[in-house]
Amino acid sequence: MNAVIDTQDRAEVRRLRYETKQRAFLKTLVSPHVIEEHRRSPIGQHSEPLERLLAYFRRRPLAGRYAIMVVKPFEAYRLVQLSGERGVPPAPSDETIYRSQAEAEHAIFLRNVQTLLT
């Protein structure tokens, strides 16, 4: 019999192709206005361009996704990146300290925008 052997997941091929087109579209949504909107209100109701960007960022593969690490509750935070691998703790992103959750959220947004544009 012509038996099946493990093969590449074609859904992944499709995802990468879709996301290439999606990124090209999302790049057109980045503007100083959207960035300012996010800075003012990183969490909550957003304009459609901003929400589309966030929806994309929130669905990146777990490996490498940003998270916020509490240094001092309600006072100091820094950024880490998830491993996406069970049992492997997140890796520190850098030493920058953010004074609020909103500041940290916005720093993550700026990094994600930068990655999108490059």
């Binding site: 969490i43 777990l62 998270a67 916020i68 703790p89 959750q101 940290a104 959220e105």
Partner: protein
């Protein structure tokens, strides 16, 4: 110096004065911890509230405890007590089983069955190599002989596998055949698959045995110099009807077993009939040996029963209809039900200890960070005395116990609309599988976690803890805000837990004129549902102080209340989904899933049920016309204006996180009044699938009128009544402004009326208009 870390748990969650509670503590980096009994008052450190509040309560065990490193056996497996060593076959043998591997290439050898010492290489075993190949081996200490298959096993496919050794000739054979039908495996008949492998080798020697090696399935005996004996080579997958013979079974005999035939009696040493033991009421952890010696196997870390077997035909959806198709016993390498640590200290609870939320506070090293631990428990009164019972939703604490959503659930950021906010304790849990998982997680092999337990440290059942994916208090620490409010208002209250309600039924509630729920009482057994319904029908006055409650059907065992079983399926939003044919709870034989799918939507008891959830923002309530009815004016007495709860520790509003709604079609009693409703929620709040059976754009907060919470009130028979607050964020609004706010006022108005002997304030007006119910 090593970092000091303290973690612990107690044997019970609900105790009374005069009873003994046992504590188990694990210590890293220290051998001493400073212990203090404390009464917990408030657990949310949000700057808009009172912060963390505890009271030290002198106890006989306060002071320095000797603590030590403890070891935890994770992974589920079966162990066969065999004192006469009948399974220690030294000559010819055959091993066989139906198997359904979940993760053949997990990266370590997975043991299926045999009598094998992994440290000393003595015995025999059948297993799966790290590369996914079936393997049979024998060892005599200095050497191991083995034979392996030529075709790797595939995940989620059923096989019949066997191995035999002819002691006279040394011929060892391996037998591997697929047993795939239209229903039982991930791939069907149209896939060109070669699942078969038959291999023979000559072994140079025969197996030896050590006296104390246990016969195991789904794991093998191992040794560590500090830990001692433990079990490694843990298997991920199902095993169905395994057996052991003291002779070589022929290919034809094995073919017959593979086809569903009864194994021959000639040479049978053991044959574990995994389908034996089912009753209408479920099944336990013992797997029956129907062979000559009745060497029954005991489950460790609760292998999952009530699972489909190799011969599941797709026609019967429950073991109650066709137990012979439910022989699959499912194992997970990271399952954990009970840490089984050495006891550290016990406390005899003083006779005068007042009912409430207590904990043993432990501090080691500097006493901060992971060097501080709280082991929580609840003290009921010896005899109920309070006017109010605060019913602690411990079943829901169990379901959420040690959830890993921020790390392992790709959907969580999309759901929450925010980035996870992690602390040291989250990382510590993530690094160590010894913390186990909750019913929001999947085991590493991909299957959903259907069991949870508090016989392990539960990091999110702790004061100060914030759920990392949502950045608010959740469950236990959120419910402490209700305790803080009861304390501040100086109400005469007792606490009791879901465990007590499940065991005692309505008699646990009936001494109290008024019962107050927790903020998110989501997981309910049938006995808990019945008791709650009977309490209200019997004249009890119930305040449902949260949302998304009375939602999932779960079950506790009578004799092991620390464990919970939860099968996720049906029209609820769910972290995982039980497989087809596996929708019935092994603990009770009842169907799992949302209560709504079983004919008991929460609206039927509480007047409201789940409609939406969202995170990052909450909204206020606005008063509705019913609140201005003169007969109901007592509910909002002293509240000025239309807006209630435009503040709170959960995203700044009293309506939010998860919210419930009035719905006549789902059983809201027609005499229910809507006191206040919320609206204006963000598009992070989606309409739940129970109300919106087909998804389409435009059903989220800023689009859909249904996305909102309803505070409802209805009088029940015999002077009973129900107030439903319909929002998880409601409880987190209570502590704002020193508990002086209109949410606190509304709740106090209702409680004051509910605990007052005699009829409710609106009862005389109701008597004047008896037709009100009927005309709706």
């Amino acid at each position: 110096m090593a970092q000091v870390k303290l973690f612990g748990y107690a044997d019970k969650i609900s105790v009374k004065p005069g009873e003994v509670i046992q504590f188990y503590v694990n210590a890293d980096g220290t051998d001493a911890a400073d212990a203090q009994l404390v009464r917990l008052i408030h657990g949310d450190n949000h700057p808009d509230g009172p912060g963390f509040v505890e009271q030290e309560v002198p106890s006989a065990i306060d002071g320095i405890w000797r603590v030590e490193k403890q070891y935890t056996q994770i992974g589920s497996f079966l162990e066969v007590p065999d004192p006469q060593r009948r399974l220690a076959l030294g000559g010819s043998l055959t091993l066989f089983a139906f198997i359904h591997p979940l993760w053949p290439q997990v990266g370590h050898r997975q043991f299926l069955l045999g009598r094998w010492d992994n440290d000393k290489n003595v015995g025999f075993g059948l297993g799966i190599k790290p590369n996914g190949l079936l393997e049979f081996w024998v060892g005599r200490g200095d050497e191991v002989d083995y034979v392996e298959a030529e075709v790797p096993l595939r995940a989620n496919m059923w096989y019949f596998v066997a191995a035999s050794l002819d002691a006279a000739t040394g011929r060892a054979t391996l037998y591997q055949e697929g047993v795939v039908n239209r229903y039982n495996s991930v791939l069907g008949k149209v896939t060109p698959l070669d699942l078969r492998s038959h291999v023979a080798e000559s072994f140079r020697f025969r197996q030896k045995h050590l006296d104390d090696t246990p016969f195991l399935m789904a794991g093998s005996r191992d040794w560590h110099d500090r830990r001692g004996d433990f079990v490694s080579q843990l298997y991920c997958g199902k095993i169905d009807r395994p057996g052991l013979f003291d002779r070589v079974l022929s290919r034809a005999e094995l073919d017959a077993i593979r086809s569903g035939g009864v194994p021959p009696s000639d040479g049978m040493v053991a044959y574990w009939d995994t389908t034996d033991g089912y009753t209408d009421q479920g099944i336990g952890d013992v797997v029956t040996d129907i062979g000559p010696h009745k060497l029954h196997a005991n489950g460790y870390n609760r292998p999952v029963r009530a699972q489909t077997g190799w011969n599941w035909s797709g026609r019967n959806d429950c073991f109650r209809l066709a137990p012979e198709e439910y022989g699959g016993v499912e194992f997970h390498a990271d399952a954990l039900i009970d840490c089984k640590w050495k006891p550290t200290k016990a406390l005899l609870l003083a006779d005068d200890l007042r009912s409430g939320a207590y904990a043993i506070r432990l501090r080691g090293g500097g006493g901060t960070g992971l060097g501080e631990e709280y082991i929580p428990f609840f003290v009921r009164p010896k005899q109920p005395t309070g006017r109010i019972a605060f019913l602690i939703p411990t079943a829901s604490y169990l379901a959420y116990a040690n959830e890993h959503l921020s790390f392992d659930a790709p959907i969580v950021q999309g759901m929450s609309g925010m980035t996870p906010i992690l602390t040291d304790i989250d990382i510590e849990m993530y690094k160590n599988p010894e913390f186990g998982h909750g019913c929001y997680d999947s085991w590493a092999d991909g299957q959903g976690v259907c069991y949870s337990s508090y016989h392990r440290p539960v990091i999110n059942m702790r004061p100060k803890y914030r759920i990392s994916s949502m950045d608010i208090t959740w469950q236990y620490p959120a419910d402490l805000s209700v305790i803080a409010w009861l304390e501040h208002m100086q109400y005469d209250y007792d606490v009791l837990t879901d465990e007590d309600l499940d065991r005692e039924g309505v008699s646990a509630l009936s001494p109290y004129p008024c019962v107050l729920s927790g903020t998110h009482p989501e997981y309910y057994s049938e006995r808990m549902m019945d008791a709650t319904e009977d309490y209200i029908e019997g004249g009890g006055r119930y305040i449902y102080l949260g949302a998304n409650g009375y939602y999932w059907h779960v079950a506790f065992r009578d004799d092991e209340p620390w464990g919970l079983e939860c099968r996720k399926l049906g029209d609820g939003w769910k972290a995982w989904e039980a497989r087809p044919g596996e929708h019935y709870i092994g603990t009770t034989g009842q169907k799992g899933g949302p209560w709504k799918c079983l004919g008991r939507p929460p609206q039927k008891i509480m007047g409201v049920g789940f409609v939406s959830e969202g995170f990052g923002t909450s909204a206020p309530f606005e008063r509705m016309p019913d609140s201005y009815e003169p007969s109901l004016a007592w509910i909002t007495d002293g509240i000025e204006g239309d807006v209630i709860g435009d503040f709170g520790l959960s995203y700044g509003g009293a309506a939010g996180v998860e919210i419930d709604k009035y719905d006549l079609s789902l059983g809201t009693p027609p005499n229910t009044k809507v006191i206040a409703s919320s609206g204006g929620h963000t598009d992070n709040y989606l309409t739940h699938g129970q109300l919106q059976l087909h998804q389409h754009p435009g059903t989220s907060g800023s689009w859909d009128h249904r996305v909102g919470a309803d505070i409802t009130y209805f009088p029940a028979p015999n002077d009973g009544a129900v107030l439903s607050c319909s929002s998880i964020a409601f409880g987190q609004a209570l502590p704002v402004n020193g508990f002086d706010n209109n949410v606190s006022r509304l709740l106090a108005n209702v409680i004051n009326a509910f605990i007052k002997p005699g009829p409710l304030p609106d009862s005389s007006e109701r008597a004047a208009e008896p037709e009100d119910v009927l005309v709706t």
